[in-house]
């Protein structure tokens, strides 16, 4: 059973379509990264999943329960950290944790203690006197300490310095239970999640662009550079999988989205025997950027 399943989800705000016919599945027991530019619909999707707003059409299920039916029982197994936590700033760290504990039957005091130490949080300091990074760590603590089956993070890294980001990730992994525990992160910060994510979903303009494992994604995208040694190429009838095709002089650059060992090289070799073909792996960030840009340049869209 998938931790999260989204089927043809649509959400309209007035005349704007925030999410259009979105379909995604998040397998249980892994870390799923939802990537997309500003306004892509990530936060809207998450809010629908958390039953904070209702979908215009389509449906979603979280931990096997329809998202519109999520109630206290389900919330006790879901952790939710977003950019705007709105924590009660008058409480101290200790008071906040003491306040949260009775709400969750699965609260683990040992984990709480371990996280306090790991995050190096001053127990008796009031939240309003904490820096942003510490505040987010407190928020994360309050969401992790009861070992939720699903941890939903909406832009958790924004505004955090690299040290805090690393501690954040460490905290998440500290609480992880292999196999039974799913993390859903939506982020701009693609580099931070690249290492972490098992699965990647990319959305843009409210629609799904990609939805696959990180590994397969990194394997099938390559940046190809071809040095044609003085010959001028005819750029017609390029395969649809080649994106962002560009030419400078006798050099041609593009992104191959269906790369497998040697295919691009062979193709070029056939027409231009002297050509030198270099294929370079792409980071998740570069792949995402390519997707976003191609989404904008060709309205018809490119099937990937």
């Amino acid at each position: 059973m998938n931790a999260i399943e989204i089927h043809n989800l649509t959400r309209r705000f007035g005349r704007t379509d925030a999410v259009v016919d979105l379909s995604l599945s998040v397998p249980t027991g892994g870390i799923f990264a939802l990537l997309g530019p500003n306004g892509a619909g990530k936060t809207t999707t998450i809010k629908i999943l958390m039953n904070l707003i209702s979908p215009t059409s389509g449906r979603a299920s979280v931990l096997g329960v329809d998202s519109t039916r999520i109630g206290p029982k389900e919330r006790a197994q879901i952790g939710y950290v977003a950019e705007n936590q709105d924590l009660p700033l008058w409480m101290s760290v200790r008071q906040l944790l003491d306040y949260c504990r009775p709400f969750y039957p699965s609260w683990d005091r040992d984990l709480e203690r371990a996280l306090l130490v790991q995050f190096d949080l001053p127990e008796d300091r009031k939240l309003k006197n904490l820096s942003r990074g510490m505040l987010m760590k407190v928020a994360l603590m309050s969401a992790l300490s009861y070992r939720p089956k699903l941890l939903v993070l909406d832009e958790p890294f924004s505004g955090l310095d690299p040290l805090v980001r690393d501690e954040f990730v460490q905290g998440i992994l500290e609480a992880s239970e292999f196999g039974n525990w799913t993390v859903f992160i939506s982020s701009h910060d693609i580099e931070e999640v690249e290492r972490l994510a098992d699965h990647v979903g990319v959305i843009d303009g409210g629609r799904t662009k990609l939805n696959e494992s990180a590994e397969s994604l990194l394997m099938r995208f390559r940046r190809i550079e071809v040095n044609l040694q003085g010959r001028t190429p005819l750029l017609e009838k390029m395969p649809a999988e080649w994106l962002a095709i560009d030419r400078v002089g006798t050099r041609v650059m593009f992104v191959d989205s269906r790369y497998s060992e040697g295919t691009a090289e062979a193709l070029f070799q056939r027409h231009f025997p002297d050509a030198v073909v270099t294929s370079l792996p792409m980071t998740l960030r570069e792949i995402s950027l390519t997707i976003f840009r191609s989404g904008r340049k060709t309205p018809k869209g490119i099937t990937l």
Binding site: G29, P281, M282
Partner: protein, 134 residues
């Protein structure tokens, strides 16, 4: 601290990078046969990766026979024959490819490239001898 050196780079699948680094460490001798291999949890925390990924990497290594799952202790490094030449050469794969591509781009012939490689090898192998040569 992990018992083998690894620096995760962006752009390549994490599992592959781990497998590669472990194999390298075994070949070089940094990981000794019978040595306890870090658990999924430790691997995931040290490298800041998902436990899933860590588990996949370890499972692959077990599949390929580099690691062995023992019931009592956990995962340990499998015994292997030392100095498997083919393995070693395979480990050089990406670097060699880069060298060849670069040479081709510069228009250097194969023989010249090989000569350059040999020269560099000598230079690094015996620094003391080199200075005495001069």
């Amino acid at each position: 601290m992990l018992p083998f050196p690894i620096g995760l780079k962006l752009g390549l699948p994490v599992t592959e990078q781990i497998i590669f680094a472990v194999k390298k460490a075994v070949v070089v001798g940094q990981l000794k046969p019978g040595e306890k291999f870090p658990s999924v949890r430790v691997l995931s925390q040290e490298l800041r990766i998902s436990p899933n990924t860590a588990h996949k990497a370890i499972a692959s290594l077990v599949d390929e026979g580099v690691l062995v799952a023992t019931p009592a202790i956990g995962t340990v490094v499998a015994p292997h024959e030392a100095g498997d030449r083919k393995d070693c050469a395979h480990l050089l794969g990406p670097e060699v490819e880069r060298l060849v591509v670069e040479a081709k781009n510069l228009g250097i012939e194969r023989e010249d490239m090989q000569a350059a490689v040999a020269a560099h090898w000598e230079k690094l192998e015996a620094p003391g001898r080199q200075s005495s040569h001069k």
